[in-house]
């Protein structure tokens, strides 16, 4: 029943045109970024050596993409599958089927994460295409694929955070507002408040930067993995507890 639920949740998400529009916007964004870099280089140096210019093409857009664009997609998907369905009561369609609530909850979370995976890899493919188009090489692709794969780990925790927050309020709008406020607060807390340094999972959204160095800093990584895992467990349990107790 979990697989049936997962298929349904994915189908529901991808039947919404907004995600296709966002995918197209992402592709256009990659192209514009490359053109912008090219123009800036020409204006500054008069050079036209695209092979050097696009060396870091695959990873240069990762930070804004992973800290703004993907959280936005996860947030919208959580609103569609949780608060939106509770608000218009369409959640009843699923709850009246022979499927346990934990399976529904897990299927929804997995579908949201699946959407993030699709966006992450689409972004990688778009960046690769732009790089090939401008510099006729795929150098750095291996590193980029590794980086994107690693960055999916903290993304999963972010999805669990949004799933949890969407159980706290009834209306879809309030749930989105609460999620945005919490996310911004966590980002600010992690970056600018010293005592919270290292304890907030949003600091690890560029998780690959720790892993893909010359040596693997095991001593640094272990507590960070623990923090991510602990945060994920708290959000999952909290979210499921509230989801399971909801009366419709």
């Amino acid at each position: 029943m979990f697989l049936a639920s997962l298929k349904n949740e994915l189908e529901k998400l991808f039947s919404r045109k907004k995600y296709i529009v966002f995918l197209i916007l992402d592709a256009i964004g990659c192209l514009l970024l490359a053109i912008g870099q090219l123009v800036a280089k020409i204006v500054a140096n008069g050079e036209f050596d695209t092979s050097i210019l696009f060396d870091d093409m695959l990873t240069s857009s990762m930070s804004p993409f992973l800290t703004v664009f993907i959280p936005l997609m996860a947030l919208l998907a959580a609103a569609d599958l949780f608060s939106g369905e509770f608000h218009d009561l369409s959640i009843r369609m699923v709850l009246l089927r022979p499927v346990e609530r934990w399976q529904i909850f897990c299927a929804k979370i997995t579908a949201i994460f699946g959407l993030c995976v699709v966006f992450v890899f689409s972004h990688l493919v778009f960046s690769l295409l732009v790089k090939v188009l401008f510099s006729k090489t795929v150098s750095g692709a291996g590193y980029a694929i590794g980086a994107y794969l690693l960055d999916l780990v903290p993304m999963a925790v972010l999805v669990l955070l949004f799933a949890f927050l969407h159980q706290l309020v009834k209306s879809s709008g309030s749930a989105v507002a609460l999620s945005v406020i919490c996310y911004i607060a966590l980002v600010i807390l992690g970056k600018y408040v010293s005592f919270a340094g290292g304890l907030i999972f949003t600091e690890y959204l560029s998780w690959h930067s720790i892993w893909l160095g010359a040596t693997l800093p095991v001593a640094v990584l272990l507590p960070k993995i623990g923090i991510l895992l602990g945060t994920a467990i708290v959000f999952y349990c909290g979210g499921y507890y509230l989801f399971e107790r909801k009366e419709i």
């Binding site: 029943m1 049936a4 639920s5 298929k7 349904n8 189908e11 529901k12 039947s15 919404r16 218009d88 009561l89 369409s90 959640i91 009843r92 369609m93 709850l95 009246l96 089927r97 022979p98 499927v99 346990e100 609530r101 107790r245 009366e247 419709i248």
Partner: protein
Amino acid sequence: MEKVLEIANLVKLYKNGRGVQNISFSVGEGEVVGLLGPNGSGKTTIMKALTGLCRYQSGAIRIFGADPADSIEKALANVGCLIEQPTLYENMTAKRQLKLMSRYYPQLSNTSVELALKEFGLDRYANEKVRRYSLGMKQRLGIAMALLSDPAFIILDEPGNGLDIESTVELRTKIVSLAKERNKAFLVSSHQADDIEKMCNRVIIIYEGNLIDDVTVEDALRLSPTLEDYFLMKIKAAKNGASFRKGEC
């Protein structure tokens, strides 16, 4: 007659004090049982408790021997439900929604979806988005979804809502024939005594969260000219605090 549903001393009270208390009844195979009561009497609350949409404080529920509070998967495996108005995915077509729901029943094929659409007169609008449907069409789709898996026990909450006269009669005929010919059990709620009289074998009258009568339609009609009259008599008695029980009046 084997029991498909057994409820014993069900209590579900909301924070505002409304809800239902000490509800006990059962539904057997091939029976069409009507839940009759004024608006807000607790009919929907009973159905929500049965289907796991709300948690009850005490009592016991068994659907085909399974407790929905323990395993909704077992309890609802052979049950079709429509609770309150059909809540559908407005941005999807009827066909797609039925297909999504059919995934929960491995025995169903694409033909089942087509058949359900045809049976409820929705085949012509199968590829139209549900947001363009009228209330009656949505209701028919909701009922089609409840019957999609060919369940042995069907729970329908106010199934006649939004339906025109022809569709209401068709639905009543379908319910009666499914019960008689295929031994399906139904629990149907309504605040229209006429609907219940025409399709049910037994009626359970709920008033202010209490079960005030559980009687066969035949017996009720022996005591009053119509089920409506019988219902009004029972309600009046409940209001006056008198203890009218079957056989006493």
